[in-house]
Amino acid sequence: IVGGCVSNPHSWPWQISLRTSFEQHFCGGTLIAPQWVLTATHCLERSQRPSSYKVFLGLHHEAKKDPSLQIRDVEALFKEPDGADIALLKLSSPALINDYVIPACLPKAHTVVGGKIECYVTGWGETQGTGGEGKLKETGFPVIENKICNRPEFLHNKVKSTELCAGNIDGGTDSCQGDSGGPLVCPEHDKFIQHGVTSWGLGCAQPRKPGVYVRVSSYISWIERTIANN
């Protein structure tokens, strides 16, 4: 996360760290049910084998093994069949739900998050010198309507309807490399709903180059079907 701040420990308890079998963090993800994690397909390019991955839950310091930490192997990988940058991981056993590990809510199918809503992204990715390395960082910014985001001044027709843009027009804060696969959540009443999966951007935190996130509401039926069938 570029800009933003170090989060209160365990205040985003659905955030997971996706790691290699050697426990090296490389992507984020979101716990959406005790045994299921949502992440980005591009995070799974390094291997087709589930045993190549581990999931760390209940973490704040990237390198510390706090008592809250739970580690799970991955039992199966499910990539979105039409090639979208969204994938599901089935954990080898359900996570223990406690103060430190709580799933995020999913949106209703095809709901669109409003243009002025402020949402939050979290992760252990690059900070580009803005501090907080090694701790879970967070930052908030508004969702930008695709029509605006696709203007020549912004991302010039690169954003699909199954994606959403979010960021500050002036830049300065954004998700970045290593945050991929992690959650973009938006408050709704007293809950956080996961509306995005961190996917891509042109650089990080550049003016008029907001981050692009897979629009989760476009894939609800695939998520529900995959979980039900597996």
Partner: protein, 555 residues
């Protein structure tokens, strides 16, 4: 054909004081609007409606003049006509407050007889709104509203009242409110509140000030012209052809030579970007092609190559003459007032978020939460937009009304704030009472849903289906289907078939923030809240962390 309420602007949680008023009992706001239209004792400019009491109060005042107060459950409806400061057609129904002629001479009061004896008076023309010395058009003059002047040598003169943008548009049509609903190529527009065939984020409820009605062409986002999403699945959106008004656009005052706000009023001559690049002339398409032309933005003073903010950006900018850098912001010196403001805010932002709960009624709460119970952002206390109010830091110096933090300056039940949603004046905040914080949960469990018949409530108790039938003050509840001792048509088993309005059990059909309630059998007390214990906290609910988020950066 539209609803009677379309003629009104609605604000939830607001109440105004007025000397001229009339109280009725009506079943719904539509009936209250009918009462307002039929008012004969005074000019009805607004009304308030409270659903629980079914109380309709028609009022002579509106928020232009009267003091606005907060009140739970009250909804204020203001007649658009009395809020408009523009004219439609000849302006016979203009009821704005312009009181100077086009030459700047003050108008004579319509009721006065000096310096000119008027032919039109409030008595002779009671329906023409001849109040004070406001410009009016009682004789349907083709040149629009006028007034008798205070200059003894000039009996009357016309006023410069801008046209409302109903038939035509000024500038880039940001305020166009007409009914054109086809694009320039003839495609029919998709209604703004629909998500098919094109899903989008221009949700009318989130943008109440943009007038996203029906499927009419609008310009909510700084485009050169009004546009709409189309009903053609292969064409997401397209511009509409709206004719330009013949009259000059409304003046917005003199431009500034320094930066204030987002700099949309900057009219200075700086033409270099913050990295030192020369700006491209706005009228030129070289080296960068663009749509921010003087023709597309006629009211934005896109002169020469001066830095400007024509499209709602955060500050003035320009296309650059460097072909590698399409655009950049400009460094414009700040106006002094803005500098003070920014400094004060920056200092305040250093205050850490140390309190996540409040004691008692929260009058001493000094934390930094700035979200309401429904997730809306708080308006800054010193700001008068979108809601003007009297709860300012100066008026309540001991209430710590900093930034947009939740506070309780007026001894209400809990910390609250005005919201940044123009349609919701205020709400209580997303804060818990200190004693109510959830306890630590250790065991893994299933998600709990808000339902069931237990005699306890989850959240606001909207799904409470228990059998408590007494209010907190010990009064027995009246059956929901009964009309004695209190007649009520708004919350009945018929009007709210899914709200569980059985027998006389406490229920919360309107999602009242204070929980279930009922009409009482005490003829002197129409309704009251019930005291129902809270259910033990669910062991986990998705999306709810046990630790509070910083939610940075706070703005």
């Amino acid at each position: 054909q539209g609803n009677l309420l379309d003629n009104y602007i609605k604000t939830e949680g607001a109440w105004i004081l007025s000397h001229n008023k009339h109280i009725y009992k009506t079943n719904n706001p539509e009936e209250c609007a009918e009462k307002c239209e039929a008012e004969t004792k005074f000019t009805c400019r607004s009304f308030t409606f409270t659903s629980k009491d079914q109380q309709c109060t028609t009022l002579a005042e509106n928020t232009k003049k009267a003091l606005v107060l907060r009140r739970t459950n009250a909804v204020l409806f203001e007649k658009r006509m009395y809020l408009l400061e523009c004219r439609r057609g000849k302006g016979e129904d203009y009821r704005g407050t312009e009181s100077k002629t086009r030459n700047g001479v003050s108008c004579q009061k319509w009721a006065d007889t000096e310096p000119h004896v008027p032919r039109f008076t409030p008595d002779s023309n009671p329906n023409d709104g001849l109040e004070e010395n406001y410009c009016r058009n009682p004789d349907k003059d083709v040149y629009g509203p006028w007034c008798y002047t205070t200059d003894p040598k000039k009996r009357f003169d016309f006023c410069n009242i801008p046209e409302c943008e109903e038939e035509c548009m000024h500038c880039s049509g940001e305020k166009y409110q007409g009914n054109i609903s086809r694009t320039e190529s003839g495609l029919e527009c998709q209604p703004w509140d629909a998500q098919k065939p094109h899903s989008h984020g221009y949700i009318p409820a989130n943008l109440p000030d943009k007038d996203l009605k029906m499927n009419y062409c609008r310009n909510p986002d700084g485009e050169p012209r009004p546009w709409c999403f189309t009903t053609d699945p292969s064409k997401r959106w397209e511009f509409c052809n709206i004719p330009r008004c013949a009259t000059p656009p409304p003046t917005t005052g003199q431009g500034l030579q320094c930066l204030a706000g987002n700099g949309d009023n900057y009219r200075g001559k700086i033409a270099i970007t913050e990295s030192g690049k020369t700006c491209q002339n706005w009228a030129s398409q070289f080296p960068h092609k663009h749509a921010r032309t003087p023709e597309n933005y006629p009211c934005k003073a896109l002169d020469e190559n001066y830095c400007r903010n024509p499209d709602g950006e955060s500050r003035p900018w320009c296309y650059t003459t460097s072909k590698d850098v399409r655009w950049e912001y400009c460094s414009i010196p700040s106006c002094e007032e803005t500098k003070v403001e920014i400094t004060a805010e920056a200092v305040d932002e250093q205050v850490p978020n140390t309190e996540d709960c409040y004691q008692g009624n929260g009058a001493t709460y000094r934390g930094t939460t700035s979200l309401t119970v429904s997730g809306k952002r708080c308006q800054a206390w010193r700001s008068m937009s979108p809601h003007s109010h009297k709860k300012t830091p100066a008026a309540f110096p001991n209430a710590d009304l900093r930034l947009n933090y939740c506070r309780n300056p007026d001894g209400d039940r809990a910390p609250w704030c005005y919201t940044t949603d123009p349609s919701v004046r205020w709400e209580f905040c997303h804060l818990k009472k200190c004693g109510d914080l959830q306890t630590v949960v250790q065991k893994p469990v299933q998600t709990t849903t808000e339902s069931g018949t237990a005699d306890c409530i989850l959240g606001k108790g909207k799904d409470y289906r228990g059998t408590t039938a007494k209010t907190g003050s010990g009064k027995t509840c009246q059956a929901w289907s009964s009309q004695t001792p209190h007649t009520h048509d708004f919350f009945t088993p018929l009007t709210h078939p899914h709200a569980g309005l059985e027998q006389n059990y406490c229920r919360n059909p309107d999602g009242d923030i204070n929980g279930p309630w009922c009409y009482t059998t005490d003829p002197r007390k129409a309704w009251d809240y019930c005291e129902i214990p809270k259910c033990p906290p669910p062991q986990y609910e998705c999306g709810k962390a046990k630790r509070k988020q910083k939610m940075c950066p706070q703005r």
